[in-house]
Amino acid sequence: MWKYILKRVAWLLLVLVGTAFVIFTVMYFVPGDPADIALPASATFEERQAFRNELGLNDSYMVQLGRYLYKTFIKLDFGTSWTYNVPVMQELFSRMPRTFMLSLITIVLGAVIGIPLGIYAALHQNRWQDHTMMVLAMVGVSMPEFWLALMLVILFCLRLQWLPAFGIGSVANWVLPVITGTVAGIAKNARQMRSSTLETVRSDYISTARAKGVPERSVIYKHMLPNALIPIINIIGAQFGKSIGGTVVLESVFTFPGVGLFLLNSINTRDLPAIRSSVLILAFFTAVVMLIVDIIYACIDPRIKAQYVASGKGRRKA
């Protein structure tokens, strides 16, 4: 087991270097001269040249890539933002906790509310409870998140004036971003949990349990649920990646000062060090969460555990 985890962690670090390479390469081709972005319009040709030399922008692609990777991974230096003139690392340190918390809260709430609803729907299959819930869930997964956010802003901030529409500082600022992020999560989890439960209902071991006279309550809670929950764990892990990516749009609607908003502002000003580092840090957090989910998954499901413990070759990622 430990060997497996170690292997996965090592691979995660390698993937991150690959990710940094992809980010650097994609951003290398961004049109526009960085000197125009960072320096005021009145800067002379010599000043621009000096700026380019200082950042090594006149070097070849390979040299720049090498320097970027060396700085990022060996010295853990994310560079200085061209527009704000502060170390990017410092900015990310203050913003990442907010983005991470927002994602975490929405994922947890989505699971805590969505899963029981899905089970409830499955146990009432084809009755009105099931139908209502699945119609609502369908609408929930079909709405664009940022549009729902705008609708909530219109209702709660502009019409009812209960909540602030933007900013950070009080708990009230978190309410709308959390609600927006949670709706889709609840809907997705409810749908998945319902189909996963329905699949388990038909298994032989459920018939066996019923046949030997296990009370229905205990059939549901002891035999059905643990098995139905297994696929959900994987889906929740994948949701985290989606939610981290989705924060960019969501944070821009609520002007929520997280990494997503920082990334968006940096894109508008073509602030390359800031763009690269914020994407890298978001990718890093996504990867770590996925890894944790994978390990939990392996611990919970004895079938998967057996696969890699026995062969010793490590589980292939499906």
């Binding site: 691979w11 993937v15 991150l16 690959g18 990710t19 390479f21 992809v22 980010i23 994609v26 951003m27 081709f29 961004v30 049109p31 369908m138 609408v139 997964v141 079909s142 709405m143 664009p144 998140e145 940022f146 549009w147 729902l148 705008l150 609708m151 802003v153 219109i154 502009l158 189909s195 329905l198 699949e199 990646g241 989606k242 981290i244 990516g245 989705g246 960019v248 749009v249 821009s252 990334l263 968006l264 894109i267 508008n268 763009i275 994407v279 978001l282 990718a283 996504t286 990867a287 292939r316 990622k317 499906a318």
Partner: protein, 295 residues
Amino acid sequence: MDKAMKTGRYKRKWSERSMFAQVMKRLAKNKAAMLGLILLLCIAIVAIFAPWIAPYSPTEMDLMSMYAAPSAKHWFGCDEVGRDILSRLIYGARYSLSIGLIADVVSQVIGVLIGTAIGYKGGKVDMIGMRIVDIWASIPSTLLAILISTTLGAGYVNTIIAMLISNVPGGIRSTRAMCLKEREMDYLEAARSINASKMRIMYKHMVPNIISPTIVGTTMGVGNTIISVAGLAYIGLGIQPPTPEWGAMLAAGRDFIRKYPHMIIFPGIAIALTVLSLNLFGDGLRDALDPKMKD
């Protein structure tokens, strides 16, 4: 045995003939799926025949009706320069549907081609291929799309490319996972034993067996892509105003949210309805293709 069968002139009913016919029959019975299909067809027809259906031109400005609220003359109201929102939504359906369809279908085809190859080959090819996909997919797809459209710049084709690049790794992963399961099946052993070529085994035998989940995935994927494209346009990447794309309309209407919420409400409903119809149809299609799931 009835007479017709004895005489050999028994004609099977259409619905007994093929797998395809059976799937269609099951699909036709599913009310939700049919509702989705009808909605989808309506939206597609509206998009195709936009110039004949739209009451006004999507770009014509009418300064007399700036910010006009919904009325009998302008059903969904007008925007900040007096363009009819309904007409813009109708034209916008062309962008959303076509980008969603092209980006998603092409990325699924690429995903199936590559995924089958590495899933069937296995061994080193699989190892290296999946490591590349791991790195490729390590950037959450929305972020990757944002990065790529930053580099490529705005525009219709560039948006499609950005969506394609961010969608492909998911397609490869799911195809490969299905192929790993199929690889051990008896029918492939049989194909190998009669010395069928690798290409033939992969694309004639394996692909048909993994195609139905792929079709369902594509249907649902179009909806997700439409939402992502709208999101890209909303944050100012992707398709830009004044093009009547739904996300771009939302972005333009955001500044007037306080006074004229109708500019935001209707484009969002258009997106949600389109995605809803795709999801309803996709759900129905999955049930129809996999009848075990629903009894």
